[in-house]
Symmetry: C2
Subunit: 144 residues, 2 copies
């Protein structure tokens, strides 16, 4: 469904949010350890998240990654997906046809439109706050 990069990106963002809620800024190594991801690859993904204003980075000693308390509520899952994988999963044709649309649909167009719309709506409604707090309470996990 999502690329590996996107999976890591979502996990990393949730972890950073969780730590930010506790007022902790976290660095790359800690993030990679927490979500069990390759360090250098995770660094690339974090760069992309920073450029897309999803997480904030602080350079230099005592630097790391964080998310503003206010921002944690407003970041939704779909923003991370779009930033890393683009919106093909929300908008693209299930059969890979470029010219597929409502008026000239591929054979599965309407059936898949429903699924994709549900996916998009769900990710648009799901805030990082919600995901991070589930973690805090120990109801969910991010590793393995």
């Amino acid at each position: 469904m999502f690329s590996k990069a996107c999976e890591y990106g979502i996990r990393a963002t949730i972890y950073i949010a969780m730590q930010s809620l506790e007022k902790n800024r976290v660095n790359l190594k800690e993030i990679a350890a927490a979500i069990d991801s390759p360090v250098a690859f995770t660094a690339k993904i974090l760069q992309k998240l920073v450029k897309n204003d999803i997480v904030e980075s602080v350079k230099g000693a005592h630097g790391g990654f964080q998310i503003d308390r206010v921002h944690i509520d407003s970041i939704k899952l779909n923003q991370i997906v779009s930033a890393i994988d683009g919106d093909k999963i929300f908008k693209g044709c299930a059969l890979g046809l470029h010219h597929c649309n409502e008026s000239l649909p591929c054979p599965v167009h309407f059936k898949f439109k429903e699924i994709r719309d549900n996916l998009e709506q769900m990710t648009k409604e799901t805030s990082i706050y919600e995901l991070a707090t589930g973690l805090e309470v120990g109801l969910t996990f991010l590793k393995r």
Copy 2:
């Protein structure tokens, strides 16, 4: 959502079904032309579909691919997806976690379970017949 191979596989199967409904057996070149896919790559995908009893192949001159009239009703979309991409899309964790399940879920588990279940159910309910006849009537298309 699906791999390129899977997209081609679904398009090929629908085209073969449509032609089989008209009692035409079709060969590789014709299939690739009809669905606008790379010929040799399509050949590999068709091999997989044959091994999974989704389409039938006839070797030698006047050979080609076809699907039994009866079989056209019973083949469902999910079988093609599973044959080519496996069932990761139906069963796998959205964040790529191996040990994610109902009792120890990842933060997005329940939200995605709903989407994945809908996808699986929809593909299980969608027969190739249904897709092929939409095509016949000219309501849908398979190219570009």
